[in-house]
Symmetry: C2
Subunit: 306 residues, 2 copies
Amino acid sequence: MNTPPAAGGLGAAAAMEALRVAVDEALDRALPPEADWPATIHRAVRYSLFAGGKRIRPALVLAAGEAVGGAREDLMPLACAVELVHTYSLVHDDLPAMDDDDLRRGKPTSHKVFGEAIAILAGDALLTRAFHLMAEVPEGWDATRVLRRVRAAAILGEACGTTGLIGGQVTDLESEGREVEAAALERLHRAKTGALLSACVRGGAILGGAGEEELERLSGYASAIGLAFQVVDDVLDATEDAEHLGKTAGKDEAAKKATYVTLHGLERARGMAAALLREALAAVSPLGPRGELLGAIARLVVDRRS
Amino acid sequence: MNTPPAAGGLGAAAAMEALRVAVDEALDRALPPEADWPATIHRAVRYSLFAGGKRIRPALVLAAGEAVGGAREDLMPLACAVELVHTYSLVHDDLPAMDDDDLRRGKPTSHKVFGEAIAILAGDALLTRAFHLMAEVPEGWDATRVLRRVRAAAILGEACGTTGLIGGQVTDLESEGREVEAAALERLHRAKTGALLSACVRGGAILGGAGEEELERLSGYASAIGLAFQVVDDVLDATEDAEHLGKTAGKDEAAKKATYVTLHGLERARGMAAALLREALAAVSPLGPRGELLGAIARLVVDRRS
């Protein structure tokens, strides 16, 4: 009695949609208009940023921060920054010199539309704007708020670096066509996918003023969904067609990439995703209703079709 | 009487060399060892960063900050960050999809040694580390110090963005083989070269605790040397051979690029560089001995041979 309504089912879907709209508005405000000089780069940046992403990473920032009592206004710059970073990594990973992908979210990739030079620069611009945004602290903020912002920026910086996003992509490129053991595959994905997802949750929690215990609990949640995310990616690549996926399907097998599916088989991979979801839900259940949106995002990560 | 010795002549050269050594040590500490996982990217990052750069940008940060009374310790993270950013921009600009250069500072460019994918990621890693470094604020700093760091990071972010470094490179690519007017050329170079040089001086001044008047004076200095830098670059490209320059010479004319030399002729371009040097020296002369290192750097920018 008198407990807040659960954020499961339709409530969670509506809550996620509201977050997505708020994030898209904030991203729009954070970027120069397309017509501003030099227009080409602003068009390219917006083309990839507003290509129908589900905004799972910003939602994690907002959900984690609000779960510990943070204000939306304090959380939104990081929510935007993680989506800018995520989009930069997609634009650069899709380049001919890297994964050479023609389709992303059902649309031609940036270099297909704008050419390689502009695609490289658009990625650079997205990454730069992410950190610039974190440094744009309003006048008159007190020391605690500023310090939380700086700590969140440092967490983001580490997640994007050579032991995070970039290191994961390097290792991914280097492991194509080679035998990869389960432990090495997990390390790769903890860097390539897990580090940024974890930065969303931990950064949001710090901006929201989380205590040590809450931070540890949320870190466990982040770690579980980070790995679940990649396992589900591999399952989708092996089972979905390009139309559902919005990108070229079956590429992993064609490229002889080690994935959770090629390594463990489809059924065991699905079982791993389910176990990781239970782990994530268990980590946030002590937060009660405040943690329900985080639970809904975990379900979304595991149940998604693309 | 009793004024400190002028930092001109040999004194300036020794002071610059001392700064260069200190910056190289700090850069070395700021990066993971080459052998750390994933080794390829750390090798590529260090290959380009320690390729014999003159460290003019870090010297500007330190000279500007110390001219207004700043401590070396407070200035060094930005000094490292601007060199990381500068190196990232060279690595990406040299890529086949951009300026397609084989030589840089007399050595094969990153993509020639490590391949395109790693060169793109090495640039990404250099840029990421720059902002990460700015966000690594030691525990226990007071609010003023933290806030200065954040303001300097915001200045760096703007200089690297689509109205700075990236915008300049976009416009540079787009103006190849086209007629470019003098005003458009100046705008291009204020973005491509001037914005970062200006961020070095203004960022260093802010970290050093400059007042409004000092900041304005130093901004004038920064603006003059920023433009001088590009004019001298164009003069060198038109007059030096590849051996002296450490990169392919005469490329601008071959690519039908608009430069200060193709637009104004060699002699007028040289005259512009000299006038900008006088402007820079005049801006810092009221600082007295404290501004002499800045004066020496301005002379170095204009008198350099590569």
